[in-house]
């Protein structure tokens, strides 16, 4: 079998990181093609449930990215997001879900090079970590196995 290629889902805000990722492309900077970008109005809109759904549906890693603090298009969406991610990481860590697979970053519309670097470093790290088997095993367990497990 060929080498493992991680599937990465990126939840990005429309105003900064999405434009930043666009700039990466127009600047002809090459970066890993493993990432699937999902555009959101704002980081404040990114519900933690979406991250769980991404893992459940086969993502090996996640990137969450938006405007730098004080640069939010809606003034405060990213500040709220920041607090949410602080709490989310603590909870996930307490439950044993691997937070090293989730990258949080601030990438502005002018940071095309930074976006490429964020994606590339996440993909390199995930390639070493391998597929997120333990979470997917839990998701894919059948009813029969569930009963046996009990």
């Amino acid at each position: 079998m060929s080498e493992f290629e991680p599937k990465v889902v990126a939840f990005v805000c429309n105003w900064c990181t999405y434009a930043g990722a666009d700039l990466t492309g127009t600047s002809r900077i090459k970066y890993a093609s493993n990432v699937k970008i999902i555009r959101f109005p704002c980081t404040g809109r990114i519900d933690f449930m979406l991250l769980l759904k991404a893992f459940a549906n086969g993502a090996d890693g996640i990137i969450v990215s938006g405007c730098h603090p004080n640069d939010c298009h809606y003034t405060s969406g990213n500040f709220h997001a920041k607090r949410r991610w602080i709490m989310f990481r603590e909870l996930m860590d307490f439950m044993g879900i691997d937070m090293a697979r989730v990258t949080f970053s601030w990438v502005s519309a002018a940071e095309g090079a930074k976006w490429a670097e964020v994606v590339n470093s996440a993909v390199t790290r995930l390639r070493e970590m391998g597929p997120y088997v333990s979470y997917r095993d839990m998701v894919n367990r059948t009813v029969e196995e569930e009963v046996k497990h009990d």
């Binding site: 607090r83 949410r84 709490m87 990481r89 909870l91 970053s105």
Partner: protein, 267 residues
């Protein structure tokens, strides 16, 4: 507890309140919540170690609100719940009389919300001692061990939502688990869906949990789901230096922010 009974009787006789929410002894000898509207029946009121329910859960219920002005027997966690409900505009402080009970079981003289606030501020607001050991033990395990621990305990969850019903802060009329477009939480009880439900519950209670431990006590299959919210209570204090239910004006941690919130994981 003669003080409590006479005070409750007085309140009902003077028509200061229409209903007293407290505890009575049920047919099996356990304590259960009681709703007393008749001053003669206030003799039924008890308060002792058996009384563990968080009575504040009833304050947001439509049926109880209809009964009129309410007096409520309240230990520290219940007082903090009331404070939190007032801050979230779920309860009108004008409609509440608090029959506060101190940690050693004495009736407190709580005339209004500011007195209650003063009492809460003087109290120990950390997670109760009996929950600290399991929290510490879990934190000591490796990530893998924690994941298998939670998978194992959560596989037992039958999605009865008793944890939600027992919690005074879970008052949403339409909870996210009842939303089916999109279906956030699978209807059937499987480990993965159960975990998603408990993550959702803990996240929605982050910075709002007042550490009463009722969710874990209410669980019919013994899932220590209170540890999730209590862990976050600890972390909220570590990061933001606040405890829930300490002021009638506070907004919960996740609905507000400070521009200089510290974190070290965002690149």
């Amino acid at each position: 507890m003669t003080n409590l009974v006479s005070r409750a009787k007085e309140l009902l006789e003077n028509k200061t309140v229409d209903v007293v929410i407290g505890f009575e002894t049920g047919p099996t000898g356990l304590a259960r919540p009681a709703f007393i509207t008749d001053p003669v029946k206030t003799d039924k009121l008890v308060f002792d170690d058996r009384c563990s329910h968080n009575l504040a859960v009833y304050l947001t219920k439509h049926e109880v609100k209809q009964m009129g002005k309410t007096a409520i027997v309240a230990t520290l966690p219940i007082m903090r719940s009331i404070m939190m409900l007032i801050s979230e505009k779920q309860v009108d402080p004008e409609n509440i009389v608090v029959l506060g009970i101190s940690t050693d079981g004495k009736l407190l003289d709580i005339a209004d919300i500011s007195v209650m606030k003063g009492y809460i501020e003087k109290s120990d607001l950390k997670n109760p001692e009996k929950f600290k050991t399991p929290l510490d033990e879990l934190s000591k395990l490796s990530q893998k061990e924690r994941f298998s621990y939670w998978q194992e305990v959560l596989s037992k969850c039958i999605k009865c939502y008793a944890c939600r019903q027992a919690c005074p802060m879970c008052y949403c009329i339409r909870c996210t688990v009842e939303v089916n477009q999109p279906q956030w939480i699978p209807v059937q009880a499987n480990t993965h869906g159960n975990m998603e439900w408990h993550i959702l519950r803990a996240m929605h209670l982050a910075g709002r949990c007042i550490s009463c431990g009722e969710c874990g006590r209410a669980c019919p299959v013994g899932i220590p789901c209170h540890l999730l919210t209590m862990h976050l209570t600890d972390k909220v204090y570590d990061y933001f230096k606040v405890y829930a239910g300490t002021s009638e004006k506070m907004s919960s941690v996740l609905s507000t922010f400070e521009p200089d919130d510290k974190e070290s994981f965002i690149i």
